[in-house]
């Protein structure tokens, strides 16, 4: 019996080739998109879950900030031994630092100071060494397998001596590379104890929040109580009032970056958006399947009637047609697997994640393959199956010709659903593109074109040499550049209460910074190298700072700025002076957030050089600058980037989202049009006799085309009426995440609507024109 079903199915599918191809292709493409996005979503959700104790690891947040004092971890362990099994601190080195082994020397970015307990809390299996003793000696270093390979090749790394910051460190452990789905990444772990030799008393400071603290809680810990205990500790030791502590579960860290976070973070809403769109695409493909099968079902009415007269139970018939749906699904799935396999390298590269089909879990794959087949086969096949099995033999045997209106309403509403989805996706893609374009072209308040950032190094000689080069317009330097996080420091004005010490973001620069970036000075003047007091007693404010302080005319106002005292235990006044000018609000952070108040002053601790080029051949300029650098600082590695590129990278997530949504939109449109094409081909075929008679009676070609296209036109217009308000609402809520955003324009919706309308019309017109041009004699004689 099964063989008979199978035979009929195969022969039916091979006879109606366009039907088979459209269904398999639509389903295959839709599923492939879904599988790839599924892999990506799964990857995103897998962040940090590889740690053995993942469910018991918490990150300590002070208020909304991830940064905690260096003193917290040791005190937490000694004062409340029962609260945490283990506590570990991280202090990632922010700027690239040189690590040297014999003649090998690389500028490394993934260096982190940490405690020996790091191997207890987190699961980093050791390839060499002992996790109890690794990092207990202050001059030890643990390195990743990758780093070991890079420095030592095939030699045994243990016991080798590497040099960092002028200190010799002994390799005591080699750990497996930190997986990419980890919110922190390091190739070099150095004991925090060593940091004391560089930081001195700062390490005893309760107000210097520069460390990231994690704890491994015992099972069944009362988290609320633990949070209260830690807040209490902070208040007690610092003598100040800390914001309430939050213990953030490890699996929430990746999607919920805190303030002052430097960990890798993801955007949960993008994960949700993409997962939703993937499901929509699959839905569109399934609808095709349902629609076409139901339409083509009328070709099988005779067979159903006949089988019933031969004594087939309804159950058997439902089974037969469900089975056929499954067969098509298997074909679609196979195509999808092939497509995924072929396109995966591209997506690995595009998403920069090691996405792969987990072939090692073969049972899982076979299981999900069968599961998907059953699910989609049933979802898409059950309506046609029951629809067919319901036919009464008397009616289905009477004649081959049955009205195509059966299931017509349902079929039409399904097509409308498809076009609602497609139009909605077009609206989303257009909005995201416009917003991206807006962000990339918005006047940031400074000119980021042709500005190169490099290490300041030995700054003054470097500047002197660079300024001799012909294609360099100006050179300046600063502590941070736009796109980086500017630090907060305390400040005070004379009219503030004596005990209040608010903080404001601060930027230390060299004179010429404002000019090099082309920031507009709105009042007063900018720093001048020739005026010596500018170095010691002058501040610039941005407009936001002046507004924040309520100063209409800020020039001449007095201000004092605080820094850590010599012993690193408290803040003291570091600079007193007056405001010499106010600059425009330049966007030094991303456009996700509004410009925050900022104090700019001339000071020490400059580590980045800004070089504005004046050439159309940046390659030559970079080569010249590199050789200058090598002359001034021989032996130091040279690195650089262009400010404009770096700033664009802030919107990398949106850029990728935009591209993926655009891609998915096209896929959804393609699949929907594919379905419409198949459906229309079927209707045109069904109506050939009607068209023939109409033509004999004198209908013109245009009349016939209009007749056939009218339905589609109606459906698309209805779907636009639904998609536009939904799209408007959804896009407005997405834009609400941005401080600087576009207005949703009418044009955008008109374009989206027109696009789906035109596509739909082109799709159906092929068939309609063919049907309309047909010689009526043929179509009438056939029937």
């Amino acid at each position: 019996m099964l063989k008979n079903y199978f035979k009929v199915a195969i022969r039916h599918l091979s006879r109606n080739k366009s039907y088979t191809i459209i269904n398999t292709m639509g389903l295959g493409i839709g599923l492939a998109a879904c599988i790839i996005i599924g892999l990506w979503v799964n990857y995103q959700l897998s962040y940090d879950d590889y740690h053995q104790h993942a469910d018991r690891i918490y990150r300590v947040l002070s208020g909304e900030s991830a940064a905690t004092p260096p003193t917290l971890a040791p005190v937490l362990k000694s004062d409340h031994p029962g609260l945490a099994n283990e506590v570990v601190r991280f202090w990632p080195v922010k700027a690239p630092s040189d690590i040297v082994y014999k003649n090998k020397k690389f500028a490394e970015r993934a260096i982190t100071f940490s405690d020996p307990s790091v191997f207890e809390v987190f699961s980093h299996p050791l390839v060499h060494g002992n996790k109890e003793t690794a990092l207990t000696n202050p001059t030890s270093i643990a390195i990743s397998e990758k780093a070991a390979k890079k420095y030592f090749g095939d030699e045994l790394p243990l016991g080798k001596t590497m040099n960092m910051w002028g200190t010799d460190l002994e390799v005591t452990a080699v750990f497996k590379d930190v997986p990419q789905n980890s919110h922190h990444r390091y190739d070099f772990l150095v004991p925090v104890q060593l940091l004391k030799t560089f930081m001195g008393n700062m390490m005893e400071n309760w107000t210097w929040a520069g460390f990231y603290t994690y704890m491994l809680a015992p099972e069944n810990t009362d988290i609320n109580r633990a949070e209260a205990v830690i807040t209490n500790l902070l208040d007690k030791y610092s003598g100040e009032e800390f914001p309430p502590t939050q213990l953030q579960p490890l699996n929430e860290v990746y999607f919920n970056p805190a303030e002052n976070d430097i960990a890798v973070s993801g955007n949960l809403s993008y994960v949700i958006i993409l997962a939703t769109i993937a499901i929509v695409v699959l839905l569109v493909a399934c609808i095709n399947f349902m629609n076409l099968s139901t339409a083509y079902a009328s070709l099988r009415k005779k067979e159903v009637g006949l089988r019933k007269t031969l004594g087939a139970y309804r159950k058997q018939l439902v089974g037969q047609f469900l089975g056929e749906a499954m067969l098509l699904t298997v074909m679609g799935l196979s195509l999808a697997t092939l497509l995924v396999e072929l396109s995966l390298p591209f997506f690995q590269n595009f998403t920069n994640t090691p996405l792969q089909i987990p072939y090692d879990q073969i049972f899982g794959i076979v299981g999900s393959f069968i599961g998907l087949t059953l699910l989609i086969g049933t979802a898409a096949g059950s309506y046609p199956a029951f629809f067919l099995a319901r036919f009464k033999p008397v009616n289905s045997l009477k004649g081959n010709r049955t009205s195509s209106s059966s299931g017509g309403i349902l079929r039409k509403s399904l097509v409308v659903t498809q076009f609602v989805a497609s139009t909605f996706l077009i609206i989303s893609a257009l909005t995201i593109y416009q917003q991206l374009d807006f962000m990339q072209n918005k006047n940031l308040g400074f000119d980021d074109e042709k500005v190169m950032i490099t290490e300041a190094g030995d700054y003054l000689p470097l500047k002197e040499e660079l300024e001799k080069l012909p294609f360099i317009e100006s050179v300046s330097a600063s502590q941070s550049v736009p796109g980086q996080r500017f630090p907060f420091y305390p400040f005070k004005t004379p009219d503030m209460a004596p005990d209040s010490l608010p903080v404001m973001r601060t930027l230390r620069v060299n004179p010429g910074f404002i000019e090099t970036l082309g920031i507009e000075v709105m009042a007063g003047r900018s720093f001048d190298e020739k005026i010596s007091t500018d170095k010691t007693n002058a501040f610039l404010l941005n407009k936001a700072a002046a507004d924040h302080l309520g100063w209409e005319d800020a020039v001449g106002k007095e201000l004092s700025w605080y820094n850590f005292s010599e012993d690193g235990t408290d803040f003291t006044v570091a600079k007193q002076g007056e405001v010499i000018g106010v600059v425009d609000n330049f966007n030094y952070a991303s456009l996700h957030s509004p410009v925050e108040p900022l104090i700019i002053h001339v000071g020490e601790g400059i580590n980045l050089a800004l070089i504005r080029l004046q050439t159309n051949h940046p390659g030559e300029a970079v080569a010249a600058i590199r050789s200058t650098w090598n002359e001034v600082s021989p032996g130091r590695p040279f690195w650089y980037y262009f400010l404009g590129d770096e700033l664009d990278r802030q919107y990398g997530a949106e850029q990728k989202l935009g591209q993926v949504i655009a891609g998915l939109t096209m896929l959804a449109l393609f699949i929907a049009c594919l379905g419409l094409f198949g459906l229309n081909a079927f209707t045109a075929r069904q109506r050939t006799k009607e068209i023939g008679i109409r033509k004999v009676l004198g209908a013109s070609v245009q009349h016939i085309i209009l007749l056939l296209n009218k339905d589609v036109l109606k459906m698309v217009i209805i779907s636009m009426a639904i998609a536009v308000p939904v799209g408007f609402y959804a896009m407005n809520s997405w834009l609400a995440e941005f401080a600087y955003k576009i207005e949703l324009s009418t044009e955008l919706f008109v374009i989206a609507g027109l696009a789906s309308l035109v596509l739909a019309l082109i799709t159906v017109s092929f068939q309609s024109i063919k049907a309309a041009l047909m010689n009526p004699v043929n179509s009438i004689r056939d029937h």
Partner: protein
Amino acid sequence: MIQLRNIDKYIDKRFQRTFILKGIDLDIEEGEFITIMGPSGAGKSTLLNILGFLDEPSEGEYSFLGEPVHNLSEKKKSNYHKSHIGFVFQAYHLIDELTVYENIEMPLLYRKVKSKQRKAMVADILDRFNIVAKKDLFPPQLSGGQQQVVGVARAIIGSPKLLLADEPTGNLHSEQSEQIMEMFTELNKSGVTIVQVTHSEKMASYGNRIINLQDGAVVEENPYHA
């Protein structure tokens, strides 16, 4: 075998009731070869469909082998289709996707006949109807007469007690028609009860009783052998 008592079949349309069959009383004994005749729209096909459980009467009683049909479940009806009733249609109704062999085999599949036995039965019938050479062809590759031979072969392979034929020769020319009718006569001799609907008096003459329908009622039974 079959008793029909006061069978009505009607369609209600708004305020009007249109009768297709009205007050039919009919007894059919096992081994009869009955022909139903009458003008277009007289209700011949409807009567045949009711006899074959494909349609239900609006009123009246129908008992098949002593069992009231209106009490039969869908499943029971299917079982009777498998074991007791065979159909032959004017338009043949062969499945275009299946070969001659597979079309004839299909009823046996629903009856869950073992593969070996199935082969023997199909081979036997192909031989009997002289269509062995055509067994691998698809229906559209055959002439109408050949298709109907396959249709008859399919109808009788399950050795039904009752064969219902709705204008079996309606689409065939006379030579083919005679061939089919001779098959029917053979079958009838071997004990199969046959009810056929036809317009042709010549075809009717193969049977042993004629029922004349007009406007849904039996006007004459057996006008020739009265």
